[in-house]
């Protein structure tokens, strides 16, 4: 399987410069090694710090225990699932797994297939919470863009769906312009968002807005 690589740019929020990065349409061995040997130790430090400061667990990153090795192993060989990653300077900055089989729920597109983002996580040093300055911005957006493009490529017209982890609610609703279908009882009341064809076209539109 040949991995397709798209050249992208990410702002380095610490230096203020922009960096060249890659958006890759598969998660192979290296990103999983990076997850285990770089993301995990950094996360452990963050959790130690949170524990020491007495921050309640409800405020700890909700994806802290995600095991990406297991997540990719369980869908290995299954064509309904696709992995994507963003790398910069040879280090994995973000991971995403999507499912191509779920159907849209929003009234205007109910019953039509969409790309459902099952898991989307940026590297722990790119997180904006806990009072730290994130390292690279734009990683999440690049992965969302990949999901939308995949949806178009597969004939789903850019439709995507996802359950947002709370801090990103505003991003999906206001910045991406997605439809907010509200808290989902089946999913710990996380908000479920969908992007319509029109919203997808706006999101991927090439001319930079004013």
């Amino acid at each position: 399987m040949t991995v397709q690589v798209s050249e992208i740019s990410l702002p380095n929020r610490q230096s203020g410069q922009s960096a060249q990065a890659e958006l890759r349409d598969a998660i192979d061995e290296q990103p999983l090694l990076d997850w285990m040997t770089r993301w995990q130790p950094f996360t452990a430090d963050v959790l130690r710090d949170l524990a020491a400061r007495g921050v309640p667990k409800s405020q700890w990153p909700q994806s802290r225990h995600w095991n990406w090795g297991a997540k990719m192993a369980e869908v290995s060989g299954l064509i309904a699932f696709r992995g994507f990653c963003v790398t910069c300077n040879g280090v994995t900055q973000g991971l995403m797994r999507v499912d191509l089989t779920p159907l849209a729920r929003e009234d205007t597109q109910a019953g039509k297939p969409l790309v459902y983002v099952e898991y989307l996580e940026v590297a722990p040093w790119n997180r904006g919470d806990g009072g730290r300055t994130p390292h690279y911005g734009g990683v999440g957006s690049a992965l969302i863009a990949a999901a939308v493009k995949l949806s178009i490529d597969e004939g789903f017209r850019g439709r995507i769906g996802l359950h947002s982890l709370p801090q990103a609610d505003g991003f999906y609703r206001d910045t991406c312009g997605m439809m907010d279908l509200g808290p989902d009882d089946g999913y710990q009341r996380l908000r479920y968002f969908e992007m319509t064809e029109t919203q997808a076209q706006a999101f991927l539109r090439e001319e930079a807005p004013e």
Binding site: Q4, S6, I8, S9, L10, P11, R13, D25, P41, A44, L47, A51, A52, K57, Q62, S63, R64, H65, W66, N67, G69, A70, A73, E74, V75, R82, F84, V117, E118, Y119, L120, V122, R127, D129, G137, G138, V139, G140, S141, A142, L143, I144, A145, A146, K149, D153, L162, H163, S164, L165, Q167, A168, G170, F171, G186, Y187, Q188, L190, E206, P209
Partner: protein, 162 residues
């Protein structure tokens, strides 16, 4: 999948994130039970047993968390997370030191800790059994000690079959 846009396009997208942490994923949350997600190969059960195992091994030697941390050259707060928070993935280095200190096989403890894919369903079964038998957490009873010794035997024996 290929997506070509100008450098400015990507930077503009990034700016619009406004420093919010972008994430999605309902299928795997602390305490969640999303029935439509493909079930993962029981890292939870192993991980519970791992925390319980570390806790009992420590108390069997009559060590406080601080004392174990000192003797095994580890961080006390990470040990607390290992024993208390079944959702936190321990650092590989920590598991390595614990395996050495408790004299159990590396690879089995790594698997139990959820750091490598659990491919051994028997280990998981034994881990669940151990976790259930060791449920009461105050003084280490004779029952718990017996459970602990039996489980150590399983860990070592499973490894000798590799």
């Amino acid at each position: 999948m290929n997506l070509t846009r100008s450098k400015e396009w990507w930077i503009d997208k990034a700016v619009r994130e406004q420093e919010r942490t972008i994430a999605a994923g309902a299928g795997d949350l602390p305490g969640a039970h999303a029935s439509t997600a493909i079930s993962e190969s029981a890292p939870g059960e192993n991980r519970i047993a791992f925390g319980r195992f570390v806790s009992l091994m420590r108390r069997n030697r009559r060590l406080t968390v601080e004392e174990l941390a000192e003797k095994a050259e580890l961080d006390a707060s990470e040990l607390l997370i290992i024993e208390d928070d079944v959702h936190a993935l321990p650092e590989p280095r920590t598991v390595f030191h614990l395996a050495q200190f408790f004299e159990v096989p590396q690879s089995r403890l790594m698997q139990l800790a959820g750091l490598t894919m659990a491919s051994d369903s028997r280990l998981t079964q034994e881990a669940v059994r151990f976790a259930a038998r060791s449920e009461s957490i105050d003084a280490l009873t004779r029952e718990q000690r017996a459970a602990l010794e039996a489980f150590v035997a399983v860990l070592s024996e499973a490894s000798s079959n590799e």
